[in-house]
Symmetry: D2
Subunit: 401 residues, 4 copies
Amino acid sequence: MKQYASGRHFLQIPGPTNVPDRVLRAIDRPTIDHRSAEFAALGHDVLEGMKTVFRTSQPVVIYPASGTGAWEAALVNTLSPGDRVLMAETGQFATLWKKLAEKLGLEVVFLSGDWRHPADAAQIEAHLAEDKAHTIKAVCVVHNETSTGVTSDIAGIRKAIDRAGHPALFLVDTISSLASIDYRHDEWGVDVTVGGSQKGLMLPPGLSFNAISEKALSASGGAKLPRAYWSWQDMLSANSGGFFPYTPATNLLYGLREALHMLQEEGLDKVFERHARHASATRSAVRAWGLEILCQQPQAYSNSLTAVVLPDGHNADDLRNIILERFDMSLGTGLGKLAGKVFRIGHLGHFNDLMLAGTLSGVEMGLSLASIPHNKGGIMAALAFLSGVPEARTINTVALQ
Amino acid sequence: MKQYASGRHFLQIPGPTNVPDRVLRAIDRPTIDHRSAEFAALGHDVLEGMKTVFRTSQPVVIYPASGTGAWEAALVNTLSPGDRVLMAETGQFATLWKKLAEKLGLEVVFLSGDWRHPADAAQIEAHLAEDKAHTIKAVCVVHNETSTGVTSDIAGIRKAIDRAGHPALFLVDTISSLASIDYRHDEWGVDVTVGGSQKGLMLPPGLSFNAISEKALSASGGAKLPRAYWSWQDMLSANSGGFFPYTPATNLLYGLREALHMLQEEGLDKVFERHARHASATRSAVRAWGLEILCQQPQAYSNSLTAVVLPDGHNADDLRNIILERFDMSLGTGLGKLAGKVFRIGHLGHFNDLMLAGTLSGVEMGLSLASIPHNKGGIMAALAFLSGVPEARTINTVALQ
Amino acid sequence: MKQYASGRHFLQIPGPTNVPDRVLRAIDRPTIDHRSAEFAALGHDVLEGMKTVFRTSQPVVIYPASGTGAWEAALVNTLSPGDRVLMAETGQFATLWKKLAEKLGLEVVFLSGDWRHPADAAQIEAHLAEDKAHTIKAVCVVHNETSTGVTSDIAGIRKAIDRAGHPALFLVDTISSLASIDYRHDEWGVDVTVGGSQKGLMLPPGLSFNAISEKALSASGGAKLPRAYWSWQDMLSANSGGFFPYTPATNLLYGLREALHMLQEEGLDKVFERHARHASATRSAVRAWGLEILCQQPQAYSNSLTAVVLPDGHNADDLRNIILERFDMSLGTGLGKLAGKVFRIGHLGHFNDLMLAGTLSGVEMGLSLASIPHNKGGIMAALAFLSGVPEARTINTVALQ
Amino acid sequence: MKQYASGRHFLQIPGPTNVPDRVLRAIDRPTIDHRSAEFAALGHDVLEGMKTVFRTSQPVVIYPASGTGAWEAALVNTLSPGDRVLMAETGQFATLWKKLAEKLGLEVVFLSGDWRHPADAAQIEAHLAEDKAHTIKAVCVVHNETSTGVTSDIAGIRKAIDRAGHPALFLVDTISSLASIDYRHDEWGVDVTVGGSQKGLMLPPGLSFNAISEKALSASGGAKLPRAYWSWQDMLSANSGGFFPYTPATNLLYGLREALHMLQEEGLDKVFERHARHASATRSAVRAWGLEILCQQPQAYSNSLTAVVLPDGHNADDLRNIILERFDMSLGTGLGKLAGKVFRIGHLGHFNDLMLAGTLSGVEMGLSLASIPHNKGGIMAALAFLSGVPEARTINTVALQ
């Protein structure tokens, strides 16, 4: 049993994110008959609404499943056993997607990366250009690497594929960017986009998505990987009437409809600006502390999370535990090879300036309490950014006590 | 937009069932960090709690998925492409499970049935006895056919398999019986039991389960069907710490914990008695109306739903629509070949005598309004059963005001 | 600790009534600053909305208080110590209002009644006609006596006062009729109408109302009873901006706004028809049982509740306890001199045909279990009324299974 | 309609306070029969629980009313028309209580104050000592002045009354101190303590309280102010069975039970320490900004709110509006003669370090945006206090941009 904690928990992992009361209350409604006209109206609303979020006019399907399920769906609907896929190693989630592909019997060409840079369009282009026989059937990229806070340039990779004149499908994971960072399924020529509910969509986990291009749909006709639960055909056929081929997660769909209303009320462009602003403020704080941002390419900085590197000899999980115990805030742990080396600040979803100020204050106090060498005043830098009123002169650099 | 309806909707389809306020309120809580100690406690609670519901001491896994996903999981974890499985055609869901198996590349021996009787243990025994080469790798049976209201004798089928001395795995679907009708995973020697959240467990849809025998787990080592999302190995490994290999549907797990508390407070045996009592009362009403119960074998009557056959020339969906419009009650439609011929009354989950009385009253009025030939007084028969006070010989005729 | 009860409790007392989920969810929102513009919008909405419910264009005030508080407010704002008021003894609530008036230092002329008839307009007229000196300052009548299920004719009493040419104020309690039974504050020339939240308005208890005529407002200028919390002046002055003179019960106001939306969606006239229909159906059942309706004047039957008289020698509370224990339904007890002699069935608020059928089924079974002499089939009579399909001459006798 | 605001509103007025989800969810439950055994258990729980909060073994009564109602109740139950009461002018709420007393027909001796100091025990003693005839029937003091953030020394005033040997009753308002600042009804010899739900008790507004000494109860026997709704006698008589003399605000009582559990889980002493800590941190920030705390006596600093004085020529409401619009935070306005001159920061109720950090960050940014002369770094001072890690040297004083 968790010790009593007064006040509201700060859930600042990069997802699941803070679920708004409006969404929770929407979910907290009696389940209805999933074969009723009332349900069909709900089904249509969310299926159409999701298209605006993916910026697509092509079909989107909704699975009662975690994001991992939607990864699997993207692969099994388009590929056949033994097919080669080209994947870019951007971090832990790219690595997990690779392992999943291998479990399904695919052969993965993994373009290695250092987890501090985005996927390399030129490298992808080069590989594709060499693949004269078109043995590579798909290129898989994570748009926003949740483990590192690095965002890859999907439009650029699309162009690279086109330059190589390669027919591979283009599959993109937007689990931690969708509804937080600008993304355009149609304009960028993506074939399957994978999304999840528990990040920018502000929902609890339990729903995931595939946005599907004409080309992907057509590829699914010849794809031989066995599939049933994930099969697009059954799904799309039932969806046309607002229904699902098996019992959908109705209450989460209530929440999705409410979240779509909220995104529409705020406006997607403002949502993206807000995330960009909070990300900039966070990086201001990190720089003021004198700490290192994991991402080494400024144009690839993620707007939904920031991974911060601790100085050698300091364990990020010790810091996270101190912050959790003292300030009731959850921060993201370092995943995979980053374990203990970085912590991640989620600044996405249902969030605002003062929640960010509380978050960065908690980090700043935690750094002191954990005796991590740093300059004080990261919070001051963030407030200066957020208010648009520059800090005068310099805040004194303060030595650690 | 649905027209305004005063009062509470009667959701009397055989699932999703009426979700209790306690469960909805439990779900309506902020999502937490799925890697925290607080989450691990939740994970342990629900994983252990589910064992009591399946009456097993062996592992249970929980998927963020519909029941269809758990069907798929049961197959892909234990079987290899081309494996033969023996399935009993008890109704629409058995048929759907068969189709799913075929999509996954399995070869199904489908023991045909008339949708009015349970799976035939003798027929299963005969088939297995003939299969000297043990080419049949699994026997798949639906415990309670949601499309027909017929319950098969799982213990009896276990004995039949044993009598045949056949090593096939025994896979059972309890989606609409779990926590409603007595079921014993261990005692009955079942290898994989498939369950879902939205029926007797009183939750919204979105979670499903596999209870896994030692033998099944061992079979999974050699099973060659590709799998990742459904893979037991990753799941069990993460579960040992109270965690999940990918983001779990945390808020539904809150609801599951509450539902498990409720089942424990009532006591599983009382839960089963209650369902048996409501099923008997429902059949009393159906008989009094002079209508036919679809299930033709009294010992196979389902305790969670009753499918009622309409007289020739009358469409069950017309009746259902009248009842929905006039009385705001959802009843189950006839599925597959039963479309239009039967309607199904769900009497499972969070339910009580007066909810049943309201339900049967709605059916009785609907029969009148739809001009379905019937005797009046089904509700009287049900009340006599429920109160334990037999109806007097004649009901006084009362003039209408 | 209450024993575990499966399914939904039937709250069939004549208030508090079953609160709809929509209202509960509206209440379940963070409290806001009661001095903010957002609050002012809420304040305006509910103050204006309540006028439509009282059918008035004059001011309505909302107290964070029970209905008893609104009784007190009606008196202390309009009267002075020692003032004489004429009250009609319609039942327990009329008696309690009289006691309250006496506690406040008023002199009550109490027109005695037998608790089975409405207030007698002729008797009121006679009293007023005799009061040449106009020592009577107010006439107080309960529109719908919650303790008896008798509705008085407010329009008729207004005419009686007018015929007597008497200047007394006319104060009316509509606590259990508002939003259930047709009521017209302006058209019927009522000076103060008293209402409460927990009946036809479908809210939890905690809010109460005064609708105030010009004449009443003017009388308040000279009224000498001390008042502060209940003072209309401060209230109206703050209300003009959408605010309140002290902290309002914000969350209940959220619920009120939602309830007003629901009433508007259904339409007040349909709301009244629905209540009339359920009341008729209930009386059909009572007559079929051969039991006596407490109200002895058919045109005064209440549409929001029905009080049923038990045969001599039978205790209504024993019956109520059996029904509560066996069927988890709360019925209203006999109040004051009716204790043990009657039980009351609430059929008001958020209610529908099948909830009523469940309710009457519970009563019918309870009558059997408590061995109260009665004819079976009250539920059949009610269903015949509700469906509009008359019962056949004879109900087929069906043997019990 | 309020513009869409992402993230959680910061409700930092000194009440209503941020209502915890646990409390909101408790309130969001179906209303039950207020005459049932289940209700009686609830009634007992909350009536007993409130005694621990008031630190009394004497009766506590609960009104379905705002705090203003409980003020009125304290007076009408103990006093007679024309009685003299001694009140200390600590601020706006003391002034409102005085006006209320006058409206009820009491004669108030109002010890004038400058709204920046606590009630003066010596002055009270002197007045009482001079009142040889004991014409003063009650001394009324506001424990924590919500309008000023000044806390009076109730134990000290008790001693002053005792030194004067005066029999006056001692009535204390703890609306904004109860469950936030140490308070002892019995030990400090208070006769009536007035409390409300929407501050330290973390509930929405709508409940208020009187804790009643033996002496006060005995005084009520002879008190002649008319009373009915507020009458202790009826209330205590019904309370003995766990019930109420009129319909209670059942759903708010659900919330109260949950809030009492939460206070018990945290422990009242820890609750008080937490409030003291947050108040100290807040004052650190105010001092660092170079702004003036309204309260001029350090031992009288309030732990539940801090009122901050703006430099001449600056309007506090302009600042508050900027903060509301830019950062979605509500702060308390200056009341009465302090209008425009001060703003108030509520730091009470369900609150924690990071919520405070967010709050103070919002104020700091607001000061910049509103061009209020101040030194930057208040938030740094607060973080130093909260973390226990002192700021090194000094944060540079920064001139306003």
